[in-house]
């Protein structure tokens, strides 16, 4: 069973973290067929942290987890920290884990920006 883990940075502001969790919930209605399991995970400052989020997916029955970094820029978090955490988790897990490119890398972002600009 496929799972999706939406990974955000995490914030001291609980409202920001809650927004990410709500977004994961919205994605369930949108991508429920492709990903019957969807959770949010955080790099730091909020729970579940990425390894705990991966474990939640596995506990729910996932045999494959797709990790999607909810980040705009190609920073150290995207380039190093998240891949390192995934690699470390993989060493002790038999579940297939794939990391997508980060959100900001999508060519569709130009469509969104154009749409917001013309609001």
């Amino acid at each position: 069973m496929n799972a999706l883990l939406l990974v955000a940075h995490g914030s001291r502001r609980q409202q920001s973290n809650e927004e990410v969790r709500l977004l994961a919930d919205k994605l369930k209605s949108r991508c429920g067929e492709s990903f019957p399991i969807i959770h949010a995970g955080f790099l730091e400052l909020a729970e579940p942290l990425i390894p705990d989020g991966l474990q939640k997916c596995i506990d729910d029955g996932a045999s494959r987890v797709t990790v999607l970094p909810y980040f705009l820029n190609t920073g150290r978090h995207v380039a190093e920290d998240i891949p390192d955490i995934i690699d470390e988790f993989k060493r002790n897990s038999s579940v297939e884990i794939n990391l997508t490119s980060h959100l900001g890398a999508s060519e569709m972002m130009l469509d969104v920006l154009a749409s917001v600009a013309s609001e």
Copy 2:
């Protein structure tokens, strides 16, 4: 003449700031008809800062500037800091300045996430 100012947080990593400037350039090819003038601006840590970015738009001939916050979450920066800076600038300017909702508020973000997830 309409201008668009794409406002990001700004980073100590010059590569991240450069990504935002490149995105503003890409938007020019995409939204050039609606916004003949497009610049990037930063809340902190990078140049031009927001007031300088607004001034660049005006120096280029803008009579109206649309400010688009390139942020994912509804944090203090989006809710308070950016509006405050815009309001302060408006006090000394006759140019019309409009602030859009932030990028993460767009319903289209679900489409982008669904697309990246299914890469």
